[in-house]
């Protein structure tokens, strides 16, 4: 596709259930980022994948959060045993890779997660 796509667009779940959020980056983009946007807050970094390197997981808020990226393309963010404070919009972004210069991050439309 032309841009970053995310699914589902909206997800409502019950507290304690697991959820999976999907991100499909722009073709050819080897860098992929997950951010969380909570109500009244800015975007908070969660995790970053770059090619075959070990991901930067420094932003994951707890061990209930995990992410994987299969085949260097599609990524799945998994939240186990969801809590109400996990309710937020989860945004994915991708960019080209390189060691010099700025690589602009292109964002998907996000998944709005509501935990009841």
């Amino acid at each position: 596709g032309a841009g970053v796509s995310q699914s589902p667009s909206n997800k409502v779940t019950e507290k304690g259930k697991d959820v999976e959020l999907r991100c499909d980056p722009i073709s050819g983009h080897t860098a992929l980022y997950w951010y969380r946007q909570s109500l009244g807050q800015g975007l908070e970094f969660l995790i970053y994948f770059q090619g075959n390197s070990a991901p930067d997981k420094s932003g994951l808020p707890s061990d209930r959060f995990s992410a994987e990226r299969t085949g260097g393309s599609v990524s799945t963010l998994t939240i186990q045993r969801t809590q109400q404070e996990d309710s937020a919009v989860y945004l994915c972004a991708s960019s080209l890779a390189g060691t010099s210069g700025l690589k602009e991050q292109f964002f998907g439309p996000g998944t709005r997660l509501t935990v009841l």
């Binding site: 060691t99 700025l102 602009e104 964002f107 439309p109």
Partner: protein
């Protein structure tokens, strides 16, 4: 660590008028990039304008321009001839120059309403 502060939660402007959105940041980095992103109700983050810290000249993109004051660590966005389509949340963001694929650090955003 970097921080980005947007102290105005909301602003309103009459159509065709000019509005300025404020942003301050804190960093020990000497080279970095600053951005303004627009997020309309569709949730799609759109890059409005960016500024390289090593450039003294303020960036401009059509009706959008910035006032970059490096010493004061200030980065404001001016929107001229405001249009109804400018109604959105606006986020200020920072990324260090080193490690071109580093994560973006965002402010909390400002909700801009353009009145007809």
């Amino acid at each position: 660590a970097q921080t980005v502060t947007q102290s105005q939660p909301e602003m309103s402007v009459q159509e065709a008028e000019t509005v300025t959105l404020s942003c301050t940041y804190d960093t020990s980095e000497s080279n970095y990039y600053l951005f303004w992103y627009k997020q309309p109700p569709s949730r799609q983050m759109i890059l409005v304008i960016r500024q390289e810290a090593y450039k003294q000249q303020n960036a401009t993109e059509n009706r959008f321009s910035v006032n970059f004051q490096k010493a004061a660590k200030s980065f404001s966005l001016k929107i001229s001839d405001s249009q109804l389509g400018d109604t959105a949340m606006y986020f200020c963001a920072f990324i260090p120059y080193t490690g071109a694929n580093s994560k973006l650090t965002f402010g909390k955003g400002i909700t801009l309403s353009v009145r007809p």
